[in-house]
Every structure is written in structure tokens, then in C-alpha cells.
Symmetry: C2
Subunit: 329 residues, 2 copies
Amino acid sequence: MINIAIFGFGAVGKGVAEVLHYKKELIEGFIGKYKVVAITDSKGSLIDEKGLNLMEAIKIKKNKGFSGMKTLEVIEKVDFDVAIEVTPTNVHSGEPGLKHIVKSMDKGANVITSNKGPLVKAFKKLERLAEKKGVSFMYEATVGGAMPIIKLAKNDLAGNEIRVIKGVLNGTCNYILTRMEREKMTYSQVLSEAQELKIAEADPSYDVEGIDSAAKLVILANSIMRMDASFEDVEITGITKITPESFEVAGNKNYTIRLIAEANKEKGFLKVSPRLVPHHHPLAIEGTMNAALIRTDLAGDIVVMGKGAGKYETASAIVSDLIEIYRRD
Amino acid sequence: MINIAIFGFGAVGKGVAEVLHYKKELIEGFIGKYKVVAITDSKGSLIDEKGLNLMEAIKIKKNKGFSGMKTLEVIEKVDFDVAIEVTPTNVHSGEPGLKHIVKSMDKGANVITSNKGPLVKAFKKLERLAEKKGVSFMYEATVGGAMPIIKLAKNDLAGNEIRVIKGVLNGTCNYILTRMEREKMTYSQVLSEAQELKIAEADPSYDVEGIDSAAKLVILANSIMRMDASFEDVEITGITKITPESFEVAGNKNYTIRLIAEANKEKGFLKVSPRLVPHHHPLAIEGTMNAALIRTDLAGDIVVMGKGAGKYETASAIVSDLIEIYRRD
């Protein structure tokens, strides 16, 4: 029996709980019996060592009923095998996720996370700690949502040297750029529209200034390309200065403009910036999709595309990590 | 120490041998020490239980020096842990690969193959035999060359239900269609060109009649979608009847024409046929590339693209299978 703890119960945490509930039979076919023994949020927790009723947990509005022990105390006192860390990300401090992950590993639990902050802040430290403690550390959901990229590069392309990764890693920016081009609207017009549609946040700077893309790039550079990169190494330009006229000029030569995150091991740079992309190029992807091009020595260029966000999409990545850890066949 | 046997020593076999030679240090970092103890072709074999000198083997012209025991005898008499079966494919009989795989599994060896024939002919039987014997059966290289699709769907998307796979799975057909559209040439003009460039074979029917695409589709349907499909279940139309005028008509509506292989579990069909594809769609890929769209319940649509053929590209898939079997971290 695998005991699961979920730390963070916003959209992603709820998505994971739903999938663990509705797809229990399928998932147990891969990994055997499991139960969720703890769910926490910033206010407290739900605990049942015999296994929580996930449907009831999901139905609780605004997490009312979460009380008592908070995450750090839960890690100390509750018996679990794997922590699913899905609290909000902070790329500067890495907290509170970083502490949750370290303490969970310290007690010998496997960790799966969608939280970029801890990896941006302390990837090497976490990787070494996982190795020292003999636990698994999985983070497919930190980059590209449902789009497989970390396991794809580390497993499916194992034996290849990964030389360059270039990608559209932020769906909000890509939505804004796609609409600006198609509708000949200004940046601020599309931003308002995206905010109404909840595609952009009230404070959009994390996305539109390129910070989210840079955080993901650092994770890819460290985990897939072994580049020992930190957030400060990324040269970042956002999309806020792009004008409808730029699209017109680009379009005349059959190009579009996309926010491209590139980690280049050969030339030794990490960069997030708006770049010209030929209309037929796979990175000229539209809407909120993500795409990545992985340049290798044997396999040549491999491209992958998928939905970069969404509760079930992120849950998909988390569940695939869970299955990879415990798969029995 | 892992003992490897390579059955078949054409372009793919030689590509695998080169990669096992030049990237030995990297690969041994994942799986530990290995040596190649046997290489066979239709004329005979090279055997050295202490480990063959792969560079010498690769340099032998036209496999002169291959003599003595043939593959079936090698399987009986040589001690190996994993067979890499890369003999030419025959989608109707599955031979000679099918016998090689069955006999290798029978003696308890793991099997990695790029050979579509045995899987098209007897996927279920081989899967059951592998399970019964407790050996691994890996076949990433049978579909899409370097493009990861089987491990991507089975591992990276584990927990998802795969509902539809649609793909451009034959680089030769895609090259011909791309050139017909771009250069307004006829089918037979481009075919001659492709034959000169060795992109198409002297007898191109296996590719242009859709047989190769159908074989790959059967493998995807059985391995990823658990559809219990056979070659006869695929409705097949090739590309030989397509005219330059069709591209013109399609182009006027911003469509192109691609040979699409589709396995649809919901509607219960398997089909290979030329279809209209919007110019901006990921399956409107150009040249000899392959692309596949995987429709899932949680992750939505995932697209992957890569080089569909080539000795190092196919070797990449085979080596990633080898690493998956023996990975130690």
C-alpha cells in the first residue's frame, strides 16, 4: 500500500486528487494499491491514515475544514511514502515548497512536484539529497504542463547528448502574441482580454516579463543538459514592448514573433527573448500551447507540443511521475 | 557485464555498433559494462565471447568475413543477455526476425528490435512470451525512427487513456508529397527524383502504397492503445493517384495533402489514406520528417516530431531501449 500526501490544494492539488479518485483502477493496475493519507494547504490539513475520501475533499469549498497540523508538522507526524508538492511557486525564495521537499526527502519519502521555485533555487542540492536518501525526485509537471519533456529527454532520448533546447514555454505569452498577430491588436488590448479570460493573471508580470519561461529554462538546463545554471544566468526580455507593427514587418517576410526560451550548451548561454520564427516552424505554435525543440547528436531535432497548463494536464504529468516511481511491470 | 548480440548488420546494425563503440563511456554510465559477443547477417556471423572489436566489424566491406554459424545457431550456442534484432522486415511472414525473437526470448534473453514484421504478425504472442519468460521486449525503433512515440505514450503519458493516434509515419511519402506541392511536379517526376536521392527504393510500393505506414499503425494500436489489431484491419490507400491539381485545389483553401495513418479507438477504425491537412497543423510537416498526434483524456493532444529514419536515428531509439532495460539509477 502506497501512502500519498498532497501538499497544496489549489487547482493542481484538486486535479491530482480527482485523477487519483476517478482513475484509481487504472493507476492501481500499474502501481498497486494506494491511499491519500494527508492533504494540506496554508490553513491546515485533512488527515486520515486509513485513506481520505477524495471526493469529499474535492467538494469542500475554499478548503473550509482544513485545520490543525500544517504541512511541516504533517511531514513530521504522518506516515507517507510519497509527497506530491503542489503549493504556489516562488522562484526567488523557493518557499514554502523547498522546505516541504527537503523535509519529506529527509524522512525518506519520494517527492513529486509541479513547483518550479524549489528547483530553480536548489536543483543540485535536491538532487543530491534524493540520491543520498535513496528516494525518487520527479518534476515533469514543472515544465510544459501535460507536454512530456523531462522524461522524454532523460529516458526516451537516453544515450543522446542534448545540445540545445529551444521552446515556447509560457502559454500566456503565446496567447497574447498569437492574438496580437491575428487581430492586429496592441499588447495592452490583448492583455486585458487575456485577463478577462483568466489566461493572464491580474499581475501578469511573472508571465509577460519572461520570468516563468526563465524559471522553466533553468530547470531544463539543469535536469536535462547538466548545465549547473541559476536564474541569474538567464538573459531575459519579456513581451511587453512588442508592437503590432513588429508583426507586420515580420509577416511581410513570412515570420512571426514568439517568446523563445533557449538553453544552448554548445554556445553556453541561457536566454529568454522575443524572436522571429518562420511561420512554418514548429515553434510558431499558436494560442496557449507549449512547444519545445530538443537538438541531439544521434536523434537530430525532436519536437514536442502540448498544453502547457491546466489542472488535469498538470495532474497528468504528476500521475505519470507517480507511475514511473512505483511501476511494477 | 551485459552480453549483447546483434542480428542483422545492414545500415541499422552498423549504426548500433558505432554508437555502442563511440558512446561506450556514456552508455556504461547508465547501465554498467557491456560487450558485443555476436553479430550475425544472412551469410554467417562474427563471434567473440570476450567482446568483438566493433570498429573492425564496422569496417568490413559487404560483411565479408561473416561465416560459420547463422543466427539461429548463434542463439542456441552463444551466451548473450540481450538480442538486438535488426534484420530486414517482412510484414507478411514476419521472418526471419520472428524466429530470432522467439528463440532469444525462449532462452531467457531480453529483445530490442527495429523490425516491424514480427510485431505486425505476432505482437500479442511476443508480448505474452516475454511476460512468461520474464524478459524485456522493446521496440521503440519500429515506429518513427528517432521520434520517441512508444515510450512517450506508455511511460510519459502513463495514466492517460490514449484515444486516437494520427500521424505522418512514412518519410518517403512525405518527401514526395512535399515536393509535389512545392514544385508543382507530378507523382512520377518526384518519385524518380526521390529514387535518385535514395529516399525512395527501386521498388517503392512498400512505402507509396501505404504498407509501411499501416504496419507502424498496427504496432501503435496494439502496443499503446491495446486494440488487438492485425494488418488486415487497416483500410489502406497510398499516394500514387495524387495529382498536382489536387494540391492546387487544396492550397486554395489553405490545406495541403498528407498521408495520414490513424488509429481511432473510440470509433474503432485503423486507416491509412491521403487527407487534407490545414497548412498550420502540426501534421502538415515537411520533407522526410515524421509527426504524430496523440489524443488523450487528461493531457489533451500531444504532438511529437522527429526524423523517421536514418542509421543513427534508429540506433538512438535502440540505445534508449537498451538503457531503459538496464538502467541502474
